[in-house]
């Protein structure tokens, strides 16, 4: 009797370990920040994934089965992201992972996925150290901090070539990485760095930091910030009457959909430049359709974070189909060899795990993001210098 009970339980629990079998779906693991300070971006991820998912399933899914996304919320915390790897890979046995949102959380999971020999596709982490490990299991869809810095410098050179720059960055992996990339790029371009200031997010007061920047009197400021702080930074830049000719930024908070609206920095966002990886107006086929579908579903226009999530899932699905298998190693090899020539995010192909993706420069003009660089895809002329605060 007792033995039977144990046997039944044993078999039942074994069954629960076998994923997806007989359920007719293939699970793909997603780690992102659905809650916490970066939830705005996690939401964008989720929306982008949802659109890609429906598109893939409408075309028959992968290997003849529908795809199902297995989400893990890292609560915007790196340690939770690592927990996510163990939950999704060890317990749910997903063959491939997408995520996370932030550079901080993504950096934290590189070791865990490499150790478990599960391929990871990174949609949005721009810090270049996420690629430092040279792990053969890691692939990045987005451009990184070095690309951001180079694009910003190229833009500045072509538009007045300012001489003095200040960097204001959030003291996280994302901020530090972009600060380092810009420090190197500026040196190479012969731009003098007159101030390099870090700050801790969640503080209500950045005025002392901005006072230090004002003292240094830069022509350009390069901000590396998430949304929570980008709004406060711009408001307080106005308050301390700090007037550089250019407000440039490493995207992220300065490229979030809410940033130029009343929910974000509002009018204070005007004339700020940002790097961008994609906009609804991008030249790649399918961009407009993605924008339209996104607007229909979520009643707002997508920023590049949603598109990168979309692209990451497209890559995963294509790789599984190419691999004709759910074995992580085979999927990994398929991702290595993938060559998607037409996606709304442009062509996708990995070299040493990195997708070569061009970076655009946008400027907020009358509350709208406009592409201003490179010239061949520009929608508007950049307004330089930004008007001083007292004249706005």
């Amino acid at each position: 009797m007792r033995f039977k009970t144990i046997a039944v339980f044993g078999i039942l629990s074994l069954c629960s370990l076998i994923p997806a079998w007989g359920q007719g779906t293939t699970k793909i693991g997603v780690i992102t920040s659905l809650t916490g300070s970066q939830a705005a971006f996690g939401e964008a991820h989720k929306n982008g994934y949802a659109i890609a998912l429906d598109e893939i399933n409408a075309k028959g899914g992968v290997l003849g089965k529908k795809v199902e996304l297995d989400f893990y919320d890292d609560q915007s915390k790196p340690d939770q992201a690592v927990q996510g790897v163990s939950k999704l890979v060890d317990q749910d046995q997903v063959p491939v992972l997408l995520g996370s949102y932030s550079s901080e959380s993504t950096k934290a999971i590189i070791g865990a996925v490499t150790q478990r020999e599960t391929p990871l596709i990174i949609p949005t982490a721009t810090a270049d150290n996420v690629m430092d490990s040279k792990s053969p299991w890691v692939f990045r869809v987005c451009a990184g901090a070095n690309d951001y810095a180079k694009a910003t410098i190229a833009f500045l050179k072509a538009n007045g070539a300012p001489k003095k720059m200040a960097i204001v960055y959030e003291n996280t992996n994302f901020g530090q990485s972009n600060m380092k990339a810009m420090t190197a790029a500026a040196k190479e371009a012969g731009i003098e760095l007159v101030a390099v200031e870090s700050y801790e997010a969640k503080s209500p007061d950045y005025k002392a930091v901005l006072q230090r920047v004002k003292q240094a009197n830069p022509d350009v400021i390069y901000y590396c910030s998430y949304l929570l702080d980008a709004t406060t930074l711009m408001r307080q830049t106005r308050e301390v009457d700090l007037n550089p000719k250019y407000y440039t930024s490493a995207g992220t908070g300065f490229a979030a959909a809410e940033f130029p609206t009343e929910k974000g920095a509002g009018k204070n966002a005007d004339f700020t430049f940002s790097v961008s990886q994609w906009l609804p107006e991008a030249k790649w086929a399918g961009s407009k359709e993605f924008d339209a579908e996104y607007f229909k579903r979520f009643n707002s226009h997508p920023q590049y974070h949603a598109m990168q999530a979309y692209a990451a899932l497209r890559v995963a699905a294509a790789a599984i189909n190419n691999a004709k298998s759910l074995e992580p190693a085979k999927i990994r090899d398929a991702i290595k060899n993938i060559n998607l020539t037409t996606t709304p995010f442009g062509p996708i192909k990995f070299e040493n795990g990195q997708n070569q993706h061009p970076v655009l420069i946008t400027q907020v003009q009358n509350g709208q993001y406009k592409v201003v660089f490179p010239a061949d895809v520009a929608q508007a002329k950049p307004v330089i210098p930004a008007p001083v605060w007292s004249k706005r």
Partner: protein
Amino acid sequence: MVRFLQACADGLLTGALYALIGMGLALIFGVMRIVNFAHGAFLMVGMYATYVLFDSFKLNPYIGFLPAGVVLFIFGYLVYLLLIRPVRNRSHFMQILMTTGIGLILTDGAQLIFKADYRQTNIDLINRSVHIGPFGANAAEVLSFAIGIVFVVGLYFFVSRSLTGQALRAISQSPDVAPLMGINLTRIQGFSFALGTALAGVAGGLLLPRLYLFPGVGEDYTTKAFVMVVLGGMGSIEGAALGGLVLGLSESLTSLYIGNQWALIVDFVLFLLVLSFKPSGMFGRQRA
């Protein structure tokens, strides 16, 4: 020199709100000897209460913080009756577990109800500034400061002059003897817990226009409140207020002269120094 004075002014503007937060915690600690790890969560609830009034009834946060404070007062009283009173004579460990648990439930509850989206009240005032000579300040911050100071001074006089205030101090001096003198322990403890909670709520309401709101927003303030209370001498209400101002100043000056990333470090170094060398507090006062 202008930069120094400006940074001092900015520090005091933030410091007045810190003072409110610190006084709330000191009140609870002084009267009940309970270390309230849910204090930051109460602040967060106050922010959400103010936010809901703003969002649903278009009530300006500078009016909305008052009803939010009242709501928090009632809420604090209920928390005391239902959760804190049963553990008031138990070990400190039990009390810490209880308040930490309350904090976690509140934070996750807010996440459940409001999602983790950041929110803000973009009131007109936040985009205006006040200029006096070479100095400038955000109008909303100045208003928060002024209201904060009124509460700080009001609370000080309440505790030192009123009959209830005397009862509060009597209990904090001798929780065993005070009831023998005809002071109703449960009533006074419940009142002070509710008042401490309401102060956190008011501070939250006043902080809302100048900060973002999300469920985890209070976490940092719990730790900062401990620093203030220790700076001011544990349980001393006016000491905690001064501790709040000192903390605001030190953060602002550290940011200006050393760098913002050092601000929290300096906070905690101050905390450790005071704990090690002057445990009665920076100002050397006895508890209230």
